[in-house]
């Protein structure tokens, strides 16, 4: 049986791009866990995702081999933890807090405004763990709801890449997005 190659499939493997410098940094991370290398699996996934944008099959295999584990030991983490994804997300990821205090302060409206400001359909669904959140076609923005960001006193809040934005009003959203463009 022949399988027709998917014309959109990429043959690039993230693992082929691991340089000696990257490997040295990874070795340094592993040294934080003198008792069990396996403990480094979450930190390595973070490192990988920060560096490559997401984790592909070759990344899972590479990390597993590095830590002397089976690929499933890494894959089961990627499919469990909401933070990890197997597809590229936008360059700027806007994570709006959905939980009670933020919802009471209007986070549903804030999320909608963010979607509109970056050009996403607010009704587009997030397809669950592992998938990238809804992302603009130009790859610039992703917008998603996340659970409690632990800043309920300054609700509603959003984590935009590494920065927390507090007391967001629907009116302030276009201005925030404009600065991020």
């Amino acid at each position: 049986m022949t399988v027709t190659a998917d014309p959109t499939a990429t043959t690039e493997r993230q693992a082929d791009k691991v340089t000696p410098e990257i490997e040295a940094e990874i070795d340094e991370i592993i040294s934080h866990y003198p008792v069990s290398k396996r403990s480094a699996s979450l930190p390595l996934l973070h490192y990988w995702q920060n560096h490559f944008g997401y984790v592909d099959d070759s990344g899972i295999e590479w990390i597993a081999a590095k830590l002397e584990l089976q690929p499933i030991n890494i894959l089961e983490l990627v499919t469990f933890y909401p933070w990890f994804r197997r597809q590229a997300a936008g360059k700027t990821i806007i994570r709006v807090c959905r939980t009670l205090a933020c919802a009471m302060a209007g986070s549903y409206e804030v999320r909608e405004k963010f979607c509109k400001a970056v050009g996403l359909d607010p009704h587009e669904e997030h397809h669950g763990f592992g998938c990238a959140p809804p992302t603009t076609k130009d790859g610039k923005f992703s917008v998603e709801f996340v659970e409690c960001l632990a800043s309920c006193g300054s609700a509603p809040v959003a984590l935009i890449n590494d920065t927390l934005y507090e007391n967001i009003t629907p009116e302030s959203v276009p201005g925030i997005v404009e600065k991020l463009k």
Binding site: H32, F80, A101, C152
Partner: protein, 455 residues
């Protein structure tokens, strides 16, 4: 590049506040660098602790009546004393910085703005329990905090407060930061340990897996909340008696109450444990409700704590003038905000996250929001919780969309009743208590939707 968080200015303290943990943050221009910390008496408590016997430190923590600030409220000294100092096994301390209980936002400020306080407390704790390897588990939604704490550890290492031969005492300790990956369940201590071991964070069953016996790498381990570890420094600094005096018997020191929702001045307030009643907290400390609004409901200790209804009355036992315990009826606003008083009225002080709701809020809507949270965060290990949390969320969502059926309130209760007590970890209780308590306290709102009396 040194990581810094954006500037944060603590508002002036309320007269009832006593800032111990947030004392440094109240200093104008305070920054998280070690020089600033040292200028304000930093690492002096560690030097003092290193002159004490380890057992004296554990005894001091016991005498201080410090209870864990993460939610469960376990006496900290008792937890430490389960670790046998010289049992020949390696010990570990893991600081739980996976702050993610809805309504709670105190550790965020410690981690971002005063990381050395945490490190100092942690080194004292390590010295007291003969621990040479510690991890600070920080949720990945605090990316800046992880950088700031890493940087602080490096600074402390360069000055000899962490690493080999701490302050020339011959005691060695290593501290590393470990980042989570967006799962609320990792706040559960055994789940956090699984996560730290590089596995899916399925909680372990107790017994036998008490962290103090079979913790990280199956070795004796202490898991403490960020705020709890910070308190240790102040117990050494003030002495346990002075420290315990600030609180109530059995709940020593200060408690950080994080108030959110419909109050004029939401925020975190560090108050001596039991210093205020719920009414004083809302109407005095937090400036009351928004104009024209009436109080409807309060979740007093993080979203998992059972909700309280405005106007509720409780019969509690108090010491009468003749020393006998007598029944007394009190209003919900007169409930003292400490561990035992909140337990006496059927809820808990938990992690100190007080969520206030006024009469503009619909209770089914609020419950649905929490149900969606728990459905998303259930780890899926135990069937009652994995299925039940999802069904509770589906039912409340359906009710709000106009598809309620008459049996819904009963069905919700039945699902919730079949989760609590039937799971490996306390998430089962955490996800069923909101449903159970909202149904008990606000039955009319559920009935109205279920019987179609509300459009």
């Amino acid at each position: 590049m040194t990581a810094t968080a954006k500037p944060f200015v603590m508002p002036a303290p309320h007269p009832k506040e006593r800032r111990i943990i947030f004392g440094n943050l109240s200093i104008p221009g305070y920054d998280p660098s070690i020089d600033t910390y040292l200028k304000h008496g930093g690492y002096e408590s560690l030097k003092k602790a290193l002159t004490m016997k380890p057992s004296e430190i554990v005894d001091a923590v016991k005498a201080s009546n410090l209870r864990g600030r993460g939610g469960a409220g376990f006496p900290c000294g008792a937890k430490w004393s389960f670790i046998k100092y010289d049992d020949g096994k390696p010990h570990y301390i893991v600081v739980n910085g996976d702050e993610s209980e809805p309504g709670t936002f105190k550790d965020r400020y410690i981690l971002h703005y005063d990381p050395h306080q945490l490190i100092e407390g942690l080194v004292i704790a390590a010295y007291a329990t003969n621990t040479h390897l510690c991890y600070i588990y920080i949720r990945c939604e605090f990316p800046e905090a992880a950088k700031i704490v890493w940087n602080a550890i490096k600074e402390a290492r360069a000055r000899g407060f962490v690493g080999k031969n701490v302050c020339g005492s011959g005691f060695d300790v290593d501290i590393y930061v470990h980042q989570g990956a967006g799962a609320y369940i990792c706040g559960e201590e055994t789940s956090l340990l699984e996560s730290l071991e590089g596995k899916r964070p399925y909680p372990r069953i107790k017994p036998p897996y008490f962290p103090a016996v079979l913790g990280l790498y199956m070795k004796p381990t202490i898991v403490n909340n960020v705020e709890t570890i910070c308190h240790v420094k102040h117990i050494i600094r003030l002495g346990p008696e002075e420290y315990a005096k600030m609180g109530t018997p059995g709940d020593g020191g200060t408690r950080t109450m994080c108030v959110s929702g419909d109050v004029m001045k939401p925020g975190f307030y560090e108050l001596p444990a039991g210093a205020v009643t719920l009414g004083e907290l809302i109407y005095d400390v937090c400036g009351g409700l928004k104009p024209g609004r009436k109080l409807k409901a309060v979740i007093p200790g993080g979203s998992s704590a059972k909700v309280l209804r405005a106007g509720e009355k409780f019969k509690i036992k108090v010491k009468g003038p003749d020393g006998q315990m007598v029944d007394k009826e009190i209003d919900v606003l007169d409930v003292v905000m400490d561990a035992s008083s909140l337990a006496a009225v059927g809820t808990m002080v938990g992690s100190g996250g007080v969520m206030v709701m006024d009469d503009s809020r619909e209770m089914v809507w609020a419950l649905n929001n929490l149900n969606q949270f728990y459905a998303h965060e259930s780890c899926g290990q135990c069937t009652p919780c994995r299925e039940g949390s999802l069904w509770m969320s589906k039912i409340t969502t359906r009710m709000l969309k106009g598809g309620a059926v008459e049996n819904d309130p009963k069905m919700l209760k039945s699902v919730a009743d079949n989760i609590a007590g039937r799971t490996v970890c306390a998430f089962g209780e955490a996800c069923s208590w909101p449903t159970q308590s909202f149904l008990t306290k606000f039955p009319e709102e559920f009935e109205a939707l279920a019987t179609g009396q509300k459009s």
